[in-house]
């Protein structure tokens, strides 16, 4: 087995009617990632429910309530591998809590597969999925035009859908869009190319997933190192050791580099890059390492080490953000919440709700409060300065969650403008 393979995280967006579960089932089945006992369990269930064929969608509904009601209530993660890559699929259900679930799954995804039914073309939900992918900064988008078998594998129908989609996608912040005609039911262009789509020259879905370039999905330019934990062994051997443990969220760092500690603004140089496997000369995102510095300066969890770069981070107590409200209790502008941003948690207030975005039409509406699944442009005031980038520059240092102190629940997700 080749251990030199990369990890790709992707999500699928679409409803059961678009053949989403069938597509995932087809990917797993044709890449030989379904085990016999799983297959026999879903075969039995399909039979019990009086279904003619094996319902591959049963592979992804895990909980008792879901099996009883035939619904999917949450994000499920599935894993499969080919000799070229390892994959994590975030599978999100398509009902009314869709926004919350898709936002959650998209937050860590490299790629989103947006399904459309070739007979129906680009629908409102296609636009909604694409908007959410754009909002969450998912680096790659695949428009999977499914059920090509139902339109006689027509190239002109595919071209028509692609043209309409690209015209819409141009309004969004999507950088890398691929369109594939396929039939999940018959297996055309999913894993195998099949015999029905000879006019299509591009890669089949799995081939694209295996080869798409993901090295640049993390910001490789602007070094960002939020300090997670201060390592002070206090043993004889490491008497004076004071290391700053964390994950490099963007860019890279080498021994000798000048770094600035924010928010204090003090500078020093990197003395060592310590790892269990020995010291390194250079480390890069997303490695987890421990740094020691030449000078003794006061650094604790929540501080960030950065290098001078083209995009300096901001150190401020106020900023604007796009917010997705995730909680059943609506946003109360009169209350204080907690914001957790990288490794720092601080009290915050929502000073303004500028507008809510209708995810179906992209229209903006003035609102006084936010309900679950609402997406809005807001302004926040934080009790202490945060060190941040815009979400577009760096997903890790441009994102935050909002916690309700009364319940300790996570109530919102934010992307800094």
């Amino acid at each position: 087995m080749n251990t030199n393979t990369q990890l790709l995280r992707f999500i699928t967006a679409g409803s059961v009617d678009d053949g989403k579960s069938t597509l995932i089932g087809r990917l797993l089945h044709d890449s030989k990632s379904i085990f016999e006992d799983q297959f026999s369990a879903i075969s039995k269930t399909s039979e019990k429910r009086g279904m003619g064929a094996v319902d591959l969608s049963l592979l992804t509904d895990g909980l008792q309530a879901e099996r009883e009601q035939g619904i999917t209530i949450d994000v499920a993660y599935r894993y499969f591998a080919t000799p070229k890559r390892k994959f994590i699929i975030g599978d999100t259900p398509g009902h009314e809590q869709y926004t919350r679930n898709m936002v959650t799954a998209a937050s860590t995804a490299n790629l989103v597969v947006i399904l459309v039914d070739a007979r129906k073309g680009v629908l409102t939900q296609t636009k909604r999925h694409s908007y959410l992918a754009s909002l969450l900064g998912v680096p790659h988008v695949v428009l999977a035009v499914n059920k090509m078998d139902m339109v006689d594998y027509s190239q002109s129908r595919f071209d028509e859908i692609v043209a309409e989609y690209k015209a819409f996608a141009a309004q969004l912040n999507l950088h890398d869009v691929h369109c594939i005609p396929l039939s999940a039911l018959n297996g055309d262009m999913v894993v195998d190319r099949g015999d029905n789509l000879d006019w299509y020259q591009g890669p089949a879905l799995l081939e694209l997933l295996e080869t798409i370039e993901i090295d640049r999905d993390v910001n490789t330019d602007d070094f960002r190192f939020p300090v997670q934990w201060v390592c002070r062994p206090q043993t004889e051997e490491y008497h004076d050791f004071r290391g700053f443990a964390g994950r490099i969220e963007a860019g890279e760092v080498s021994v000798g580099d000048e770094v600035t500690v924010l928010p204090s603004g003090r500078t020093s140089r990197v003395k060592e890059i310590v790892t269990y496997d020995g010291n390194l000369q250079t480390a890069f995102a997303p490695q987890s390492v421990t740094l020691t510095l030449e000078d003794e300066i006061d650094i604790s969890r929540g501080d960030m080490l950065v290098k001078t770069s083209a995009h300096p981070p901001k150190v401020e107590k106020e900023f604007e953000a796009m917010l997705c409200w995730l909680s059943e209790s609506p946003l109360d502008k009169g209350r204080k919440y907690l914001v957790k941003h990288t490794t720092r948690t601080a009290k915050c207030l929502f000073s303004r709700i500028d507008y809510r975005v209708d995810v179906n039409t992209l229209e903006q509406h003035a609102v006084e409060k936010l309900n679950m699944n609402d997406i809005a442009r807001v302004a926040l005031k934080i009790q202490q300065p945060l060190v941040f980038d815009s979400y577009e520059i760096d997903r890790a240092t441009g994102s935050f969650i909002v916690i309700d102190e009364a319940t300790n629940n996570t109530v919102a997700a934010g992307m800094i403008a």
């Binding site: 209530i73 002070r232 994102s399």
Partner: protein, 301 residues
């Protein structure tokens, strides 16, 4: 291509280190559950990667069913001693003596009772976070569980009321008396674990490798003969070359027939196997389609 190579194992390792450090930094009194099984041995290596040259900022805790394979317990003790880390062992026997667990049949699996002793141990030490080596690819209920999985005062998991988990920004906050279970290797698969054991040259109990063992065949499973499991009249004891894919309670952990004697051979077998890890080896998960989910709701890991 970028100038750096960063493999899937590197990505998983870095993610797990990040999770463990969040626990160490944000939780007041965490613990790492360590059984001596392969997944928890991987967890120990990840903790070394996250915290060395310092000591672990938490103790190791094992909830011993007293139904474990002796080789696994020996490995547990040796690894903890070699690392110089504190190991707390609490036994189901303690709970039985207290009367909080009542055993009706000694030959039955004790997994259902493990949650009782776990909750008592959590209360004894006041742990607010317990890290465990469960993986999402193991079972359907796990596939939907968060990395930071919140438990109420009764240790219960409510699958319909989970906190949304976005990016790598984890909400670690709990009220008094509540706690969280944290699964740093959620995103690892059985194959990843074996590849990592090979890469890191980790010492694991011998029973993971193929060996000759006395077994009986019962209800489609191969069951190891032990002081807890004796052949019933009419059952034939065979000596078969087997290895264990998981090592839990001796009465319900079935080995698979295998001749794989090295990590590489196990990896090759894992790549071609057609049965899931728990499906092949855990009789307690075969009882109903929702058995793991029900045990989790009751406070099982």
């Amino acid at each position: 291509m970028s100038k750096h190579t960063f493999t899937h194992l590197d990505a998983l390792e870095s993610e797990s280190m990040h999770i463990m450090r969040e626990v160490a930094a944000e939780c007041k009194n965490p613990a790492l559950l360590f059984s001596g099984g392969k997944d928890s041995i991987v967890m120990l290596r990840l903790a070394e990667k996250a915290f060395r040259p310092a000591k672990f900022p938490f103790p190791l805790v094992h909830i011993d069913t007293e139904h474990n394979f002796p080789e696994v317990i020996a490995t547990r003790d040796k690894l903890a001693a070699d690392l110089g880390e504190r190991l707390i062992v609490r036994s189901l026997e303690d709970s039985i003596a207290r009367g909080t667990i009542v055993i009706k049949d000694e030959s039955k699996p004790r997994n259902p009772f493990q949650s009782v002793t776990l909750l008592e141990t959590i209360a004894e030490f006041g742990f607010d976070a317990c890290m465990g080596g469960a993986r999402r690819d193991e079972e359907k209920a796990r596939a939907k569980e968060r990395i930071f999985s919140f438990r109420d005062e009764f240790g219960q998991w409510d699958p319909k009321n989970q906190r949304p988990e976005l990016w790598d920004t984890y909400n670690t906050r709990v009220n008094n008396g509540e706690n969280i279970r944290v699964f740093p290797i959620s995103n690892w698969t059985e194959m990843d674990i074996w590849e990592y054991i090979g890469r890191e040259k980790l010492h694991i109990p011998e029973i993971y490798f193929a060996h000759e063992r006395e077994v009986i065949r019962r209800g489609g499973n191969v069951i190891p003969v032990s002081h807890l499991v004796q052949p019933k009249p009419g059952e034939k004891v065979e000596v078969v070359s087997v290895r264990f894919r998981t090592v839990g309670d001796m009465t319900c952990t079935a080995p698979v027939e295998s001749t794989a004697r090295t990590v590489d051979e196990i990896i090759a077998e894992t790549a071609t196997t057609r049965i899931t890890e728990r499906g092949a080896t855990r009789m307690d998960d075969q009882t109903s389609e929702a058995s793991m989910e029900l045990r989790k709701k009751e406070g099982y890991f």
